[in-house]
Symmetry: C2
Subunit: 293 residues, 2 copies
Amino acid sequence: MDIKEYLRAGKCLIDTFLSDYFSGEIRPAVLSAAMNYSLQAGGKRIRPILCLAACEACGRNSADIVSFASALEMVHTYSLIHDDLPAMDNDDLRRGKPTNHKIYGEAIAILAGDALLTEAFSIFAATVPGVHAESQMAAVRELAAASGMKGMVAGQVQDMLSENAEPDEETLRFIHRHKTAALLSASVRIGALLAGARSGVFESLSLYGDRIGLAFQVIDDILDIVGETEVIGKPQGSDERKKKLTYPRLYGIEKSRAIAGGLIEEALQSLGYFGPEADPLRGIASYLLSRTH
Amino acid sequence: MDIKEYLRAGKCLIDTFLSDYFSGEIRPAVLSAAMNYSLQAGGKRIRPILCLAACEACGRNSADIVSFASALEMVHTYSLIHDDLPAMDNDDLRRGKPTNHKIYGEAIAILAGDALLTEAFSIFAATVPGVHAESQMAAVRELAAASGMKGMVAGQVQDMLSENAEPDEETLRFIHRHKTAALLSASVRIGALLAGARSGVFESLSLYGDRIGLAFQVIDDILDIVGETEVIGKPQGSDERKKKLTYPRLYGIEKSRAIAGGLIEEALQSLGYFGPEADPLRGIASYLLSRTH
């Protein structure tokens, strides 16, 4: 399959949903403007696409769950807006554009993030034909667990505490597992849950999601060093300047590439019993790794 | 009934749940410390108690839904932490104690708020014996609607935009309905939903919640002027100093008291067809009004 075409089509579906969802009149207008600004800042929609692809791997039409997939992008976007704030990473650029608070001010940026997080849960709880309430509840639990005090927020707190710290393998793993891997992995699991996956299938896809989630951050760290600003959407070398704890800093580029390769290999192996319905998941895994070479 | 005793007992239930819920080890420890600090800063737990009382008004034992009621306090607490931030209301004191960011710094305060909001949804989606998944889904929708871009967040944005603005009745109503009334009213509706209220009962309780929600803010505004710091938990006259748009500023104290009285009267009337099972709701309504005299 043509994975680049698949990613383009998925991004288009999500972009359209998000743009339609926030097109109505919201008062005060500055709030929806701020939410829209960051949602439309050119993300690759990898979390939503993983969610859709996991649903398809269970043999279900993913068109039914585009709203849920899009909500995952809202949660990701909220986390970026808050992470970029002056009190946190104090970033002026995100994906090559001024960060939310640079345009709308800190107060609106905080509130736009709050609103995006809340709206995601609203979408997760909306009645959808053919999706069972129990599955949706399980999906809400996954989303909250991945995003909250035992997930993404914990990772961000630890990340801030660890700036300028001595490199330490265990802390690095904690940060990556919580700050990035948790939501990526949850995106896969949520796609499977909403598709009504049987437990064996769900376990295999969970393993895939776990490995993809971990690989993603290692690859992102590598791209921060070998990539170009245009591709990675932030100034090249920005992790290094902030003395962020990263895989390349701890292991060097080559060993980091090997770690990413091993994780992607495990992700692909977890799909061993799936047929062509899992080709999008396979394609995404291989594509992510290819970016580091 | 002895409403003060009822409020004390309700507060004790919620305090105990919250304290138990966050007693486990959470890493990084500073995150749970920050969450706990604001949760235990001495709130009256009025939203949780309204939720429990609404459940009881439907003839159901409210012990089943203490977790949901407590989650409402988490959402309220998150909103206070974010509202107090330097970028927003820039308050140093809340309920007579230093605000969250004064103790933990802005970054942790923002993240503690994020985590509290997220955890509330996690609790709302946890499986509870005797509560139907469909009712819980409806409760999640209520909570998200009351808290997000069409509820509390919208109210806070408008409130900030209106500082130093000319008093304007329509804007004042918008702020109060969204910033404060929405979550109070949702607390009542959520209690009724989780109790499995029939539609007539649900409509009556919704009307009660709406009027209580509106009255609460008018009363709070009055107390900001006539109350003492000790009672209201913030320096007396702080709204006035910030030129916040308030009912007393627009109408004066006496007319504001009359407005609050009218709303409480309507709240009580909405309970006309209920028996003694609604006495707690009646007691809360009367108690709130009594504080302004």
